[in-house]
């Protein structure tokens, strides 16, 4: 029933089932299509396409320039790195030289101080030795003296008559032996 109603409406409104095949509307469609195409064509041709083309060209040249600039900066960075490394190496060499010089200077000072200390020690040793010698000589002399006195006293005590010269000679001979 609905289909019949639609058919009736279709018959009233238009005669064919497919609106696409209703030739009476074609001239209207074709006219407005041509108008639309002409408008789009001229808008694109005169405004949009040259503008977008120019933007794209600008962009690609900007990118090319930027890439070139980046390459240049990279080269600069490499050069700077090289210079930095050279400076670093030089600084290291300088530092090594300074360290060596300082070491040599310290060694010299040390040697000098050691020599001085050795000399002082040697002097002290010599002095001490002489003093020890003195003391030893003094002690020997005292021993001779005591021996002489003791011998004299012993001779006297035994009832002999002490002859100073002979006692001395005897003691001296004993001490030597």
């Amino acid at each position: 029933m609905a289909t019949e109603a639609h058919d009736a409406a279709g018959a009233a409104g238009q005669s064919v089932g497919m609106p696409q095949l209703d030739v009476s509307t074609w001239q209207n469609q074709i006219f407005w299509l041509v108008v639309a195409l002409v408008v789009i064509y001229f808008v694109l041709r005169l405004v949009a396409l040259p503008r977008i083309g120019a933007v794209l060209a600008d962009r690609s040249s900007t990118i090319t320039n930027d890439l070139a600039a980046a390459e240049e900066l990279k080269q600069k960075a490499l050069a700077a790195e090289k210079a930095y490394n050279a400076a670093l190496d030089k600084a290291r060499a300088d530092a090594a030289a300074i360290v060596a010089a300082a070491k040599a200077e310290i060694q010299a000072d040390l040697d000098k101080a050691t020599a001085k200390a050795d000399a002082e020690i040697a002097a002290k040793v010599a002095e001490s030795e002489s003093r020890i010698g003195e003391i030893r000589a003094g002690a020997l002399e005292s021993v001779t003296e005591v021996a002489k006195d003791t011998a004299k006293e012993l001779v006297a005590a035994l009832g002999g008559k002490a002859d100073a010269r002979s006692i001395t000679a005897a003691v001296t001979a004993k001490l030597k032996g």
């Binding site: 609106p19 696409q20 209207n28 808008v43 949009a48 396409l49 977008i52």
Partner: protein
């Protein structure tokens, strides 16, 4: 007609394609018969919308001329680059001269197709009159261009020198027929795809008024809609690339 649709379950998948006067009250006047060529119709309105969208995208979108593009500008640039590359790849360097015309066709068809997918809208490219006009413009344009550029040499396209001599007349007849068929397939493909898709969409939408199968119908309509978005873009591309292939016969050196 709307009154009748409300009286019962009725699907009118073809009603969406009816050409009618734009400034017209259907209750009081007859909006569809005897339309003059200059009258403002729904065709006029939706073609104007197409033109406005194209201008908005390609002219206003690119008005910043920015090296780093805005979103709209980058869409315009993407379309420009895409069509430009297609023209250059298919037709060679000579074809680039005709890039603005091919861009016009591509943008018109693409946005007419996409605008046609808006609910309640009218799809201008679903009409045979429109697609036949587009295809015939391409056909006659390219044929004239080929004759002007190559003279009678253009007709050598139909004379296959690589085939045996005895076969050449037969092949020439076949070639001429296939050449004449180009605008037919070129236009019917576009109109047919859109017409069928929109009609199916309308049928699914009509079934959505029945409670029982409503979920299936709505899901089906959503699926078909997604497919139609794809079809809208693909058909615009197909029309464009076929135009480029035909143009190659007229401007390129090599022929098949």
């Amino acid at each position: 007609m709307t009154n009748l649709a409300e009286t019962g379950f009725a699907i009118h998948p073809m009603d969406q394609f009816i050409v009618k006067r734009f400034f017209c009250d259907a209750a009081h006047a007859d909006c569809t018969t005897d339309i003059k060529w200059y009258e403002i119709t729904n065709v006029t309105f939706w073609m104007a919308m197409t033109v406005i969208v194209i201008i908005a995208l390609m002219v206003f979108g690119s008005r910043g001329r920015a090296i780093i593009p805005s979103r709209v500008q980058s869409i315009g640039e993407l379309l420009y680059g895409f069509v430009y590359k297609t023209v250059e790849d298919v037709t060679g360097h000579e074809g680039v001269k005709y890039f603005p015309y091919i861009m016009t066709l591509f943008l018109f068809i693409l946005f007419a197709n996409l605008l046609g997918l808006l609910p309640m809208s009218f799809t201008t490219t679903s009409h045979v009159a429109v697609t036949v006009t587009l295809a015939l413009l391409v056909f006659f344009g390219i044929t004239l261009l080929g004759l002007v550029r190559k003279g009678p040499g253009f007709l050598a396209m139909f004379w296959i020198t690589s085939a045996p001599l005895a076969l050449r007349p037969v092949l020439a007849v076949i070639e001429v027929i296939s050449y004449m068929m180009r605008p037919v397939s070129h236009s019917i493909r576009l109109a047919g795809n859109l017409l069928a898709g929109h009609a199916v969409l309308k049928v699914f939408a009509g079934f959505a008024s029945m409670t029982v199968i409503m979920p299936v119908a709505v899901l089906g309509a959503v699926g078909i809609y997604a497919l139609e978005v794809l079809v809208a873009c693909v058909q615009a591309y197909v029309f464009t690339i076929l135009t480029c292939v035909y143009l190659k016969d007229a401007v390129g050196d090599a022929h098949h």
